[in-house]
């Protein structure tokens, strides 16, 4: 089969503008009427934001392309345009084949419906005809490993089963072009490998084109041969995935010199906004942090409210390849903050810091009443110097891992 060099997707001069604060400013009929009655002249000009500008690339069949970029760089806008969920302002996209996009796991799944019913519903929503689903039905069930629970409502499924079923349907779509967004972030590791394997196989053996968006650079390098870096809505790199990932990681270093409060690459309602992240050595009372020190992360935030209710805060610590090493989440540790002042600082105390020497990027994330309030990736860097974690005056070899684990050695005859 010679699918090589046959185009799958051609994007040229693509741009999309969003008007911030809708044209007339009215979001309710009441406002629209008031506006019309008052003459409607004194409106403020709508602020235009180019979410994507002058984007050009071609994708051949059999190619796997990873889209990389910070929050707000235009990744999801690009996926939405390719998936025909929204329309471009300029330029065009040519699709040479059937496209299936998987922007979320289990779109349209209904908890009250059984696994069997959801396979048909979800498959149809993703664009399969009923007879195609019938033909692939047994394969889907086998891939998802849920044969015994086929006639059980999915609300009784474990989250693992739910994700497996959802991905299984999508994996059997048979599109010529497959678009996948971040969905692999959920599910257990074994199944993630299975899905990645399936996507790779789909591209290599069946000559499909795959477009994959992820914050997980390890998954991007594993799955994609080629990468595109988006910054501020423009393509700033296009080439071998490994090289583009390296360039992305370099942009993160310059990024962190921008004060957090001034960063625009953030997602959320703004019910709460992070202002700064500082890392402090509690034992020494200084900013110098070593392995084994008592450390306090202080995350200053602001809001328009005197108090905030039901606040969840989460810190994610990234390694050198941007892999997520661990999260410090208020959820399991103490539950949501029920009521906090409108301006203040979250304090996270880490006794005896278990990180090896190195630079760790910190992502901060918060929800207020379960809506994402603010999410800034790579908001700060924590530089960890070598330290006496074990209290023995000796240290581990360098470059042999990220974590220090309290342990004991012994010998038994």
């Amino acid at each position: 089969m010679s699918f090589k060099d046959a185009p799958a997707v051609a994007v040229s001069g693509l741009g999309k503008v969003y008007r911030l604060g809708t044209e007339s400013g009215a979001t309710t009929a009441r406002e629209a009427v008031v506006h019309a009655v008052r003459g409607g002249k004194a409106r403020a000009p709508a602020e235009m934001l180019w979410a994507l500008r002058d984007v050009n690339f071609e994708l051949a069949r059999g190619e796997t392309l990873g889209i990389i970029g910070r929050n707000g760089a235009g990744k999801s806008t690009l996926l939405k345009l390719i998936s025909r969920i929204t329309w471009p302002t300029e330029g065009e996209i040519r699709l040479y084949g059937r496209l299936a996009s998987l922007l979320e796991v289990g779109t349209g799944f209904h908890p009250e419906l059984t696994g069997r019913e959801n396979i048909f519903l979800n498959g149809t929503i993703l664009g399969m005809r009923r007879h195609e689903i019938l033909r692939r039905f047994d394969e889907i069930v086998e891939f998802a490993e849920i044969a015994r629970f086929l006639d059980t409502p999915v609300k009784r499924y474990s989250s693992g089963m739910y994700v497996r079923l959802a991905f299984a349907v999508a994996a059997h779509l048979d599109p010529e072009i497959l678009v996948v967004d971040e969905v692999l972030a959920v599910g257990d590791a074994a199944f993630q490998r299975k899905c990645l394997g399936k996507m790779g196989e789909v591209a290599r053996e069946e000559g499909r084109a795959v477009i994959f968006v992820s914050h997980n650079m390890v998954a991007i390098t594993a799955l994609c041969a080629r990468g595109i870096l988006l910054e501020g809505g423009r393509v700033t790199a296009d080439g071998a995935a490994g090289a583009v990932v390296q360039q992305y990681l370099r942009t993160l270093e310059t990024l962190i010199t921008t004060p957090l409060a001034a960063r625009r690459d953030r997602i959320g309602t703004g019910a709460l906004r992070f202002e700064s992240v500082t890392v402090r050595n509690v034992s020494a009372g200084s900013g110098l942090v070593r392995s084994g020190d008592d450390v306090e992360l202080s995350i200053a935030y602001q809001s328009d409210q005197p108090t905030l209710n039901n606040v969840h805060v989460n810190v994610i610590i990234h390694g050198p390849l941007d892999e997520q090493l661990c999260q410090l989440s208020s959820g399991p540790q103490r539950g949501d903050f029920e009521r906090i002042p409108g301006n203040g600082s979250f304090l996270c105390h880490i006794p005896r810091l278990p990180f090896e020497a190195g630079a760790y990027r910190i992502t901060v994330y918060s929800t207020v009443n379960a809506d994402i309030a603010d999410w800034v990736m790579h908001a700060a860097v924590m530089d960890v110097e070598p330290g006496d974690y074990f209290g023995t005056g000796r240290m581990n070899d360098e470059g042999q891992g990220h974590f220090l684990v309290t342990h004991n050695w012994d010998v038994r005859a």
């Binding site: 185009p7 979001t27 009929a29 065009e92 209904h110």
Partner: protein, 274 residues
């Protein structure tokens, strides 16, 4: 260079929805309809009981208020059967209207995640509304046997009135569904407007109780003809006449066209504003 299957480029708003594209997605329409019906009747008994109970209570209430207390005439059939039939017909219109108008907001997760002609969403609500109507119609049949009401040949015109009532509901609902995405407060206004419309239409009372000098204005409401026609076909009460029929038919066609046209104008912006 092979030719592209799809070319996505900036395009102005359409004047009318692409019905061919909607037809290609008919499987989705059926699947969503099947889902709604399954969910509604999963606990089979409860679903049916609820559907019958609503007009039963409303019919009883209006039979007492209008029939007994106000002493209005019900054209020779028992007032209860008269009001019950009125509510089955009104219920068809109102269910289609309220379900199709909330379809986009209720399924906003689909609108922002998958491509399909958005018109599928309001249309797919027809299935569950129609099943509810069919159940109600069955219960009305039982009632007619009990009350020994025989409508005679007008029964043959029943499908026509059913079609008109559903078309009016769908046209207005499609229109409202696009508007509610843009103007959220319509969500609250719509039930109130619907309620007003019910009292302005011959649901619980007969057109014949309207003083003759006002009746022509009353008949300008397309629902008047449709409701009278429905009742004529199942109860054999007075026929809606040519004017009433033409206005009802015109109302159905016009509301479908306006609904579709307005929807097409908003369709491409839905994912950006929903």
């Amino acid at each position: 260079m092979p030719t592209a299957l799809h070319v996505i480029r900036p395009i102005g708003d359409r004047a009318f929805p692409d019905l061919g594209e909607a037809w290609r997605f008919r499987d989705l329409c059926f699947a969503l309809g099947r889902r709604d019906v399954t969910l509604r009747y999963r606990q089979t008994l409860l679903g049916v009981v609820w559907v019958v109970l609503q007009p039963l209570i409303a019919g009883g209430l209006f039979a007492v208020v209008f029939g007994k207390i106000a002493g209005l005439k019900s054209e020779g059939v028992p007032y209860f059967a008269f009001a019950y039939a009125g509510f089955i017909a009104w219920g068809a219109f109102q269910n289609v209207l309220s379900r199709s108008s909330s379809a986009l907001l209720a399924q906003s997760n689909l609108v922002t995640k998958v491509y399909f002609p958005r018109l599928i969403l309001p249309i797919s609500t027809l299935f569950s509304s129609f099943v509810d109507f069919a159940v109600g119609l069955g219960s009305l049949g039982v009632l007619l046997v009990i009350f020994r009401v025989n409508p005679g040949w007008p029964l043959l015109t029943l499908p026509f009135w059913v079609l008109i009532l559903h078309a009016m509901g769908l046209g207005l609902g499609t229109l409202a569904s696009a508007f509610t995405v843009r103007f959220r407060d319509l969500n609250y206004a719509l039930p109130i407007l619907t309620q007003l419309l019910m009292y302005a239409s011959p649901v619980a009372y007969s057109t014949t109780v309207i003083p003759i000098q006002y009746r022509r204005y009353f008949l300008l409401n397309p629902l008047s003809g449709a409701l009278d026609g429905f009742r004529w076909s199942v109860l054999g009460t007075s026929a809606p006449g040519v004017t009433g029929t033409v206005i009802a038919l015109a109302g159905a066609i016009v509301s479908l066209f306006i609904g579709a046209a307005i929807f097409a104008r908003y369709e491409r912006h839905l994912a950006d504003v929903i």
